[in-house]
């Protein structure tokens, strides 16, 4: 899967968690949590969203790697199942 496709999927999953957010304004290198005011429940829902769309099982230990949009894309691109 290309990084552009992954980016689209990540933004879609974020849209499911914070439907009122203007995702076009997200700065890719800043913490998503701070930009969208999301909490741990939202983070879990985001991970569930990624799981449903990409069929990936992200362990809790890897959650810190999902902190920014760039980080999400890099992390997901590194997963063998998505290469």
């Amino acid at each position: 899967m290309t990084k552009d496709k992954i980016r689209e999927t990540v933004l879609r999953a974020l849209g499911g968690v914070a439907p009122e957010a203007d995702l076009s304004q997200i700065k890719p290198d800043l913490r998503i949590r701070d930009q969208l005011d999301i909490d741990s429940m939202d983070l879990l829902n985001f991970v569930i969203g990624l799981h449903k769309e990409l069929k990936v099982d992200i362990p809790e230990a890897d959650y810190p790697r999902l902190a920014t949009l760039d980080g999400c894309i890099e992390y997901l691109a590194s997963l063998r199942d998505l290469r």
């Binding site: 879990l44 799981h51 099982d57």
Partner: protein, 388 residues
Amino acid sequence: MPQLGADMSAGKLLGWRKRVGDRVQRGEIIADVETDKADIEVEVFAVGVIEKILIRPGEKVPVGTVLAIIQEEGRPAEAETPSAPQAMRGEPPPAAAAVPVRPIPVRPSVLTPGTPRLHISPVAKKLAADLGINPASIAGTGPGGRVTLEDVQKAAQIQPTPVAEPDRRARMRQAIAAAMARSKREIPHYYLSTTIDLSRAMEWLNQENLKRSVEDRLVYGVLLIKAVALALRQVPELNSIWSGEKALPCPDVHVGVAISLRGGGLIAPALHHTDRQTLDELMKNFRDLVQRARAGSLRSSELSDPTVTVTSLGEQGVEAVFGIIYPPQVALVGFGKVVERPWSAEGQIVSRPVITATLSADHRVSDGHRGGLFLSAVDRCLQEAEKL
């Protein structure tokens, strides 16, 4: 108009989901109401048939106003006085009606024009369409609740007109301000805090989540909520409602969880029978509650039933929160963030994840001694997370 919290003085009826002649069941959602904080689904706490609808969509009425009359099953018809019926006042169910939590499926906030139950004459339907009024929002007065031409004409007269009302956020701020000012004015708060070693709980949670699929994982917040609920059984006076003169102990534990709304404001709906739910049930219901709170589809009982509030600001980096009690409750429990701290254990200084738990309590109802016992009970519960 149900009282959905101390900060509510009036509400606007958005629409009916039932019509005259419809049968209603306990727990069924019958109407939607707009409050300063959210749009709420009003449940009914009786079984019967809707006899008369008194308030039309668009009308804003004070708390306590009778919205409609239900002829309760097994009861003879009474005179049509506003004091006779009770079922649609949105009052919480009596204590004896405690039942296991059975989430009601989320429904759309208003009926759509295609709703099969709609009974309306063709000419009335055309007029409603011309006027841009949703016929499903009109209470029919014709035979069997049929919407007549006159009903549509009347509805047109009371359709909400744009007025310069403060927006929802401003109104929510005003409502919170009123409730919190009242709380600080009337309730003699006392505050306690304790630091709890979370290493066992976090280790248990990590191991537990490793065994679970992504969708079944737990967040540590549900451990805190369950620990509070169980501790309240041990210090039940904190699970009370202040009636104006004295505290009335609540037989059931309905923890209200403070949920921040994006863009500002907060709401604290109940997780019903918190102490009786398993962690899996709590997680499922908590997720659902957060989602619905932010989507604006909470139910009336979720706002009228909390017997205590739990708030957590840990994710905002706060180490301890000393909250203001939400009347008529008599206690509020706060949690800060989980931090690694030096901790003395078995003669060694070790690093442990700890959390600060706080209690704000009403001194008219409990003393610091009992409050301390409560926080100790929360601590004990969290040391045995596998039993939660």
